[in-house]
């Protein structure tokens, strides 16, 4: 047992020594420096090539040394003495070029200047060495890109060796891409096929275009095996891109639908309850976005640590402020106009005009600059070109939560019960002791608060300016009409439908045609179901 262990230990030791000596022999620092210090352009070029060819086998320390020398050579900081000594000068003092220990500048030294051709190789050398030294992933990624741009004359084992040492997934995938790229031009058909497979693994429309370009290339269509592999890869990529496109259409449609829902849900409740259309609904959305902005600014000043969470912290503030604005509007104006619903249109229009201009005077007409917190930035690529962006996901999740909250309010609370009762029959609800006026006020405030939350959810996606609300009212009302007046489920359904139709038509016929077609569809559907898709029961 012990003997065996000893033998194993000895073996390991020997192997380590072998590796260590191999590493030690991997580069002759003096030889490289001598070449670099040579007087001719060819000599320095040969020195750089020496460094480049040795790069795949270098230890991190050697690679670090190589980087330092290359950087010094490129910056004219490599000084060569007459007797073959070389030093590097820099802000940290003068060091010996071979050992990187402190040294002294030789008496009659000169700093060789890299030629133009040498500079090209120098760039390759620096990038290659970066992959083998202890460098941050960001630098490595940049190095891979550089190598990808200047891939001629690289040693064949460079990329495989770099792959062995790479850990960061982005660097690994970039290296794979590069390997595949190199493989495409390999003489061996098997390597070409492998390369095609690797490229096909990342299924985006860019790779599809790339593979199609290859099929047109006679060098690839000549060999039947390669050409078959190419066709297979194209089919695979196309399928996944198609799936990705369908999914992103769905995703964008749902996202547009959730925006519509947030702006329409308050309108639907108010219209169902009071038969009043609040043309200032869009301006309440705008108000919500502005309150969100104020919360963000207040956090910047008072509690910078919490700024990243401002979209969540703003929720109660926005709801309360826009809800209060709604209550004020109801008390001051709407209440007096119940017998004249057409006049409420004009009155609420006047309110919207007033709000727009108040905000314009207070904040100016330019778009507000919102900070995008890190958790709303970017997204994740699922399949093909389909990118799930966090800010749209935020809007979708927000709308879903608003739907749930509204449904809970209408179904589970007393207020919801009263709202439903007054919606169905105002007179009868009054007879059994419900104060319909107070319910109106509460519902109007609630609807306004929801609109404000809509503004909050929109702020990472839309341009926020005083006139942002004007575009919403017509679309929202179409959704209400389509879904059925006063029906929450109908509103949700209709917003999803209109969102999907809009997004589905837009790429083919343009945004205007999408709007026109959506409007015509709605007018047609009203012919067929005047009550909307989901009609509420009621005796009115």
């Amino acid at each position: 047992m012990t003997a065996m262990m000893r033998r194993v230990a000895a073996g390991v030791l020997l192997a380590m020594m072998a590796v260590a000596s191999a590493r030690a022999e991997a580069i002759d620092r003096r030889a490289v420096l001598a070449q670099l210090c040579g007087t001719g352009a060819a000599e320095s070029l040969a020195g750089l090539r020496l460094l480049l060819d040795a790069a795949p086998g270098l230890s991190p320390a050697d690679a670090q040394w190589g980087l330092a020398v290359a950087a010094a050579f490129s910056g004219k900081a490599l000084h060569c003495g007459a007797n073959g000594e070389a030093v590097l000068t820099g802000p940290g003092g003068t060091v010996d070029a071979a050992t990187l220990q402190t040294g002294a500048l030789p008496a009659d030294s000169r700093a060789p200047l890299p030629s133009l051709r040498a500079r090209v190789v120098l760039e390759q050398v620096s990038a290659a060495l970066t992959l083998f030294a202890d460098t941050p992933a960001r630098d490595r990624l940049a190095a891979v890109r550089t190598l990808g741009r200047r891939s001629d004359g690289l040693p064949a084992n460079l990329v495989p060796a770099a792959l062995e040492r790479a850990h960061d997934p982005a660097v690994v995938s970039a290296l794979r891409d590069m390997q595949a790229e190199a493989g495409l031009h390999a003489a061996d058909p098997q390597r070409r096929i492998d390369a095609i497979r690797t490229i096909g693994d990342t299924a985006t429309s860019a790779t599809a275009t790339r593979l199609r370009a290859l099929r047109a290339d006679p060098a690839f269509s000549a060999d039947p095996a390669v050409s078959a592999a190419l066709d297979g890869a194209i089919a695979r990529v196309d399928r996944r891109v198609a799936i990705g496109n369908a999914l992103s259409l769905l995703y964008n449609g749902i996202s547009a639908g959730s925006v519509l829902f947030m702006s329409a849900v308050g309108l639907a409740i108010i219209f169902g309850l009071m038969g009043v259309i609040n043309l200032a609904q869009g301006e309440l959305i705008m108000l919500g976005a502005y309150v969100t902005y104020c919360v963000q600014q207040a956090l910047v000043m008072a509690a910078p640590a919490w700024v990243d969470w401002y979209p969540l912290l703003a929720i109660p503030v926005v709801f309360v402020i826009t809800g209060a604005a709604g209550v004020v509007i109801e008390l001051a104006v709407i209440r007096h106009l119940y017998q004249r619903p057409l006049m409420t249109l004009l009155a609420t229009w006047a309110i919207s005009l007033l709000l727009i201009n108040l905000v314009r005077v207070g904040f100016g007409t330019q778009n507000l600059q919102f900070m995008t917190p890190p958790w709303l930035r970017g997204g994740v690529n699922l399949v093909g070109d389909f990118l799930v962006t966090w800010n749209h996901l935020f809007a979708i999740g927000f709308a879903a939560l608003a739907l749930l909250a509204t449904a809970a309010l209408l179904r589970l609370t007393d207020l919801g019960l009263f709202i439903r009762a007054v919606t169905q029959n105002r007179g009868m609800a009054g007879c059994v002791g419900i104060s319909s006026r107070r319910i109106d006020m509460a519902a109007f405030g609630f609807g306004a608060g929801l609109a404000g939350l809509g503004g909050l959810a929109l702020s990472p996606i839309y341009n926020v300016n005083p006139t942002m609300g004007t575009g919403f009212i017509i679309d929202s009302f179409m959704v209400v009409v389509l879904g059925g007046v006063g029906s929450l489920a109908g509103t949700a359904l209709a917003s999803l439908g209109v969102g999907l139709v809009n997004v589905g038509i837009e790429p083919y016929y343009g945004a205007v045609a999408a709007k026109v077609i959506a409007l015509l569809l709605i007018i047609l559907i009203i012919q067929w179901r005047p009550e909307g898709l989901v009609a509420t029961r009621g005796r009115r």
């Binding site: 219209f271 038969g275 009043v276 259309i277 043309l279 104006v333 007096h336 106009l337 004249r340 619903p341 057409l342 006049m343 409420t344 249109l345 004009l346 009155a347 229009w349 006047a350 309110i351 005009l353 007033l354 727009i356 201009n357 005077v361 004007t470 017509i474 009302f477 179409m478 009409v481 343009g510 945004a511 205007v512 709007k515 026109v516 409007l519 007018i523 009203i526 012919q527 005047p530």
Partner: protein, 366 residues
């Protein structure tokens, strides 16, 4: 006849008659008036077009209780038709294509534009095409009993869609730049004083005709049926009247008047672009009527003249103030004077009585 010619109508009619007679006479130099400022004449003409437009909305709203928030569509329709005629006549003079056609890479006018060479077919188109559009839209809406706020918003949506459509360059009517570059109006050089006087006089005549004709119509049997629709449409239906056709007739007539207003308006401003289709403008028309007072057509003229006069004046004096003035005025009128400024007289009489009588004991609300 007493219902047709009340004091407001007589005042408005008299003023209009004065304008119609004095304008051309002073332009011809028959009546020695101080020199006419071209800007003033133009302004007067524009305001009268707006009055015409307001009356067309009032005919539907005050008459049948149907509020259209989309009359900008018919106004702009008439305007575009007129502009097409003006462009064709300009082309006949100069043989230079309008910029928007060159810009879109067209070698000439689309062939069907030649229909607009003659003033007669253009006039026919202005009277017929917008009415036809109104018929199609009104038929599907009224048939499925879309009314009240519902109808108003759908008209607004229609205008909005039309605006989006006209904003596109590919639609073929100049896109967002619209159509401009008119050379002559009925033989008179565009932008000159004679042309301005002619157009203002024509607009005045149109306003007068529509005012008198409209009041006659509203006092007739048809007008009484419209009033019945406004007050209780289901009951009228139960009595055996087909309200669909009554409403449609009024609706098409109203669209026709709006189109004429647009056709008279465009040569006066010298340009037409999709901003006339802005839903906010269509809403403003209703605001003029609401502020002036509904139902009698005089209120519409008063409202349009007042608001547009104030707008022209404030646009120069204090442009940022105008939206505040307008919105507060609307709120005040809507809350305090349910039937607009025409209500002021009755209201003030009631208030004075109240003041002299002292407060009545208030009944408790049920």
């Amino acid at each position: 006849m007493s219902g047709v010619l009340d004091r407001g109508t007589l005042t408005a009619g008299g003023l209009l008659g004065l304008v119609i007679v004095l304008l051309p006479l002073s332009a011809l130099g028959v009546v020695p008036l101080p020199a006419l400022p071209i800007y003033g004449v133009n302004l007067l003409g524009q305001i009268m077009c707006f009055a015409l437009l307001a009356m067309s909305v009032d005919l539907m709203w005050g008459g049948a209780g149907v509020l259209s928030l989309g009359h900008g569509l018919f106004f702009a329709f008439g305007g575009y038709l007129c502009a097409m005629h003006l462009l064709r006549t300009a082309f006949a003079e100069t043989h230079v294509l309008p910029d928007f056609l060159l810009f879109m890479g067209h070698g000439g006018f689309p062939s069907w534009w030649s229909l607009f060479d003659s003033p007669a077919t253009t006039a026919l188109a202005i009277l017929a095409l917008p009415a036809l559009l109104a018929f199609a839209f009104g038929y599907v809406s009224f048939r499925s009993r879309v009314n009240g706020v519902y109808f108003s918003i759908i008209t607004q949506a229609l205008t909005y869609t039309a605006m989006l459509l006209m904003f596109r360059n590919d639609t073929g009517f100049g896109g967002n730049n619209g159509m401009t570059g008119f050379r002559s109006v009925a033989g008179l050089p565009a932008g000159s004083l004679p042309a301005a006087v002619l157009l203002a006089t024509l607009s005045g005549c149109a306003v007068l005709v529509v005012l008198l004709g409209g009041r006659l119509l509203l006092a007739s049997r048809f007008g009484r049926l419209l009033t019945a629709i406004r007050d209780d449409e289901p009951r009228l239906r139960f009595l055996g009247y087909d309200t669909l056709w009554l409403k449609l007739a009024a609706w098409c007539l109203s669209a026709c008047i709006a189109a004429v207003a647009g056709a008279l308006y465009v040569p006066q401003v010298g340009i037409i672009n999709p901003s006339l289709l802005d839903p906010a403008l269509s809403l403003e028309i209703a605001v003029w009527v609401a502020i002036g007072g509904r139902g009698g057509l005089c209120g519409a003229i008063l409202g349009a003249a007042l608001i547009n006069g104030a707008k022209f004046w404030l646009a120069g004096a204090a442009p940022t103030l105008w939206p505040f003035v307008l919105s507060l005025l609307v709120l005040a009128v809507v809350l305090l004077l349910p039937n607009g400024l025409l209500d002021l007289r009755n209201r003030s009489r009631a208030w004075m009585t109240d003041l002299s009588r002292g407060p009545l004991p208030r009944l408790r609300a049920p």
